[in-house]
Assembly symmetry: C2
Homo-oligomer: 257 residues x 2
């Protein structure tokens, strides 16, 4: 039985906690022994009070401490851990293994998904990117990860940085484009709902086609007439700038082929 | 029984033809009487030769002619139709009703979806945006649209232009961001597959949440440290330009709230 503690109570922490509680119920060989939170009340809906502490010195021995706090807090939180030689892993996509303090063994346990408080996630499908300093720690991380997900990957800090940047493009920026699409619809009294099947199919397409094969539209066709009509249509300077930047990039990609 | 002819043999035409053939089989009150194609052989896999013509003068009477050709060809194709006072509708998102010649009654039948030759589409879920010059023509378009889709909308030419621009943002540009994500993964030997659950969830999220609520990431948090790390990480000038343009837009949106 692997004993596990989680430090943090934000979005990522809460989704991890419920995934591990579910795994425990289903008979996985892991036990969530404790959660550290500065605000224990925020976890009351998930855990009974005895499992939550707001005192680092009350942390009991465990095989793994998962640090699910904001990126900037990783260093200071791990500096406060009053023990050493134990396995401590952060859950950040953008920080190195070295962000963790030297007194403990280091690991990374990065679930690559977008987590919102108001939305359940099927953790089975969440890729978990793992890194450790030695094989036995890696194997432990892998066992823990496999208890909640079918998809685990060995990813070093440099690769993780690439994944994190790529994730910003395919998630943060994509969602921002949805927001602009929504704004254009609102301005012209068209329901955003009309675009939803297109949004879904656009994502579905790249599950099987390479993005370069799936590309369509006026920029892909170098259809200058439609591009100019769109530029005229967009009165918002910021929307036009994004339109022009991305159109130019698609045109340039076309030329390279 | 509504009699229908399709003019064109590209992506949109082929998807429409197979949707109408299926509707016909399922007993819908429509009949696909004829298809015009300059290259009849490209449709041989869908239709028998008697149903295809490459001569405008051989077009038989029909209640509706759907023009599914490239945007730039709409005017010249409809100018060649050797009849008048019949209902002719184009299928373009970016062109006005007026693009059609005056000798026939005009309509628009715009299926808002991304069509690829290599991928089947569930037409039931494709929103069809309709426009006509009078009520009876609109009702006919609606009957035809409802034979293949559950989602029909009355959309005038100005609204359709807005939808088409918005579709460029949520489809063409989004797919291009997938392409950049893929390129970053390739460069750093990370499988693009790791990003696929994120891509799917990003699209799924806005089915129920407003895009502004679904936004996450360093720009949303105004996390300058991570933003700077990403800028340093990106060595490709074009990728960095897109990163900076979209990050600035998310930061500016945050300030407006």
């Amino acid at each position: 039985m692997i004993q596990l503690s989680i430090i943090g109570s934000g979005n990522v922490a809460q989704h991890l906690i419920s995934a591990f509680l579910q795994a425990q119920k289903s008979g996985a060989a892991i036990e969530l022994v404790q959660v550290y939170s500065r605000k224990p009340e925020s976890l009351a809906y998930l855990l009974d009070a005895a499992t939550i502490t707001n005192d680092f010195h009350a942390l009991r021995p465990a095989d793994l401490y998962l640090i699910a706090v904001s990126d900037d807090a990783i260093a200071s939180v791990t500096a406060q851990l009053p023990f050493s030689h134990r396995l401590v892993a952060h859950t950040s996509g953008s920080r190195n293994l070295e962000e963790l303090q030297d007194n403990n063994r280091k690991g990374v346990f990065y679930p690559l998904q977008t987590f919102s408080k108001s939305r359940a996630v099927n953790y089975n499908e969440v890729p978990i990117c793992l890194e450790a300093q030695n094989t036995s720690d890696y194997e432990l991380l892998e066992k823990v990860a496999k208890s909640i997900s079918n998809k685990t990957f060995a990813i070093d800090s440099e690769q993780r940085k690439a994944l994190h940047v790529a994730a910003v493009f395919v998630n943060n920026f994509v969602n921002h484009l949805y927001q602009i699409g929504n704004a254009i619809c609102k301005e012209h009294q068209v329901p955003f709902d009309i675009l939803k099947p297109l949004i879904k199919e656009t994502a579905e397409k790249v599950m099987t086609l390479a993005p370069s094969e799936a590309q369509t539209g006026p920029a892909k066709r170098a259809d200058q007439k439609t591009i100019e009509q769109h530029q005229e249509f967009l009165t918002d300077a910021n929307q036009r700038k994004i339109y022009e930047t991305l159109t130019q990039s698609i045109l340039d990609h076309g030329k390279k082929l």
